[in-house]
Subunit: 247 residues, 2 copies
DNA sequence: CGCTGGCTTGATTCTATTCAATTTTCGTGG
DNA sequence: CCACGAAAATTGAATAGAATCAAGCCAGCG
């Protein structure tokens, strides 16, 4: 496990790449934006919160009083449909932020996929800090910018017609996230269920299953466990997902 | 035309609603964030640029040296696929910003749908201003936050299965945008072509056409010109789009 | 060791895509 | 202002692909 330990210093950590600069490896760990003093400063206004696997963290429509910064674990941000179906807008990992709101209310529900440890940043206090500290705030601009790109990429994925194209793009996405987090690239770990993958890529459970099978049959990936995928032909995968291979 | 004239004072204007506060009508015009002094300040670093209908403004992959703020007109932000198809990530209107980039390069191509007047804000200068002025920067945070929500809503739209559901959500979106801009609500003007609507909602031209026909046949909308839609049954439309009617 | 929930697989149905033919609209130049 | 040509949009028929439903399978966990 060749992961830089961002948790050596306590306090929130935000992963993002400056949209205006070519990325340069930083001593703070991969794409870790905040300097240590900012992190300890944010730590003074943050509370550590823990959630069990499957536990609900935010509910759509409820008053939004905090923004969360993940330390450990994975969460899904989703909106539930009237028929009981869920549309997942993002899977979020350590150093991600969540808690998007509109007019003071959360626009997405958020649930823990694994056990989760996070910082809760009360927005009233955070707001004051942002308005007082342009440098700190700039990190939020960069982070939001990043998140916007990801959401646009998600939309691009959803616009695809063929199931295995969507899955290929999804796998590329996960691969990039995990290699950015410092893990080996060809081996992907998927913390979420097949159903959740379907809710993210806009496919039924059956179509996800068939899509994976097709990718395996074509020799592009191999699947040891259901949650572990190995990329056999990165080029083929990239080619299938080539609409906008997104970095 | 009951539109407040935001262009009385010169300079960039940004439309967005603070995600953490219930919206309150402002004297600066609907959801206009920037105070006049900020606008004139930004005006000093901005250049006015004009584009003809159909003209390309940004190209995906080209160095990103400016962010644009629309004064008049409509643009589409898109990425072109290998087969010549386009995926449109957003239609942008006056007071919107565009020019999303990653590592110094635009991630979307942008083309003028109508004649367009815009401010070009060079990012190097803008960056300095943001880092020096937390209040100004805060507006960008709010704006990006807004844009993120819109992108998530777009993803929700694309995840829908039935064509007329997508179109209903699309029409709701346009209706909200236009009523936010101060126009009458029940009459929608669509500056874009059917093909472009299809590229936005993820449908073929034929499906868009059939979808509109279905909405008309159900008596939910009526279409005077191809670019003018009248909502006859707002409740029915909202119901069809009810997954996440988005405000 | 068996149970439970997640996953796979198959058959059918439904919807959108595709392709082609036709009509409408729009911009241009007379 | 009208007429023409080109581009956009509609419509129809055939096809392809995913959704749905139901049945069986596998894995993790007590």
């Amino acid at each position: 496990m060749a992961k830089t330990d961002v948790n050596r210093v306590g306090g929130p950590a935000i992963r993002a790449t400056d949209p205006w600069l070519a990325s340069a490896p930083s001593a703070r760990g991969p794409n870790q934006l905040l300097a240590d003093d900012k992190r300890t400063q944010l730590a003074t206004i943050a509370t550590i919160v823990r959630f069990k696997k499957g536990e609900q963290i935010c509910a759509r429509g409820k008053p939004a009083d905090a923004i969360y910064n993940i330390v450990h674990g994975t969460v899904k941000s989703y909106v539930a449909g009237p028929d009981g179906g869920e549309h997942i807008s993002a899977f979020l990992y350590p150093q991600d932020l969540f808690g998007v709101s509109e007019e003071g209310r959360y626009t997405n529900s958020v649930k823990a996929i694994t056990r989760v440890v996070a910082y809760a940043l009360p927005i009233s206090v955070l707001r004051r800090h942002l308005l007082a500290d342009a440098e700190l705030e700039f990190h939020f601009v960069v982070r939001l910018w990043d998140e916007l790109r990801q959401a646009q990429h998600h939309a691009l994925l959803l616009a695809q017609r063929r199931a295995f194209t969507k899955l290929a793009m999804f796998l590329m996405l996960q691969k990039n996230l995990q290699s950015a987090a410092g893990y080996a690239a060809e081996q992907i770990f998927l913390p979420m269920s097949r159903t959740e993958i379907g809710d993210y890529v806009g496919l039924s459970l059956g179509a996800v299953s068939r899509g994976f099978r097709e990718l395996v049959e074509r020799g592009i990936i191999s699947s040891t466990t259901r949650r572990h995928v190995k990329i056999l032909e990165p080029n083929a995968l990239r080619h299938v997902a080539n609409w906008a291979a997104g970095s």
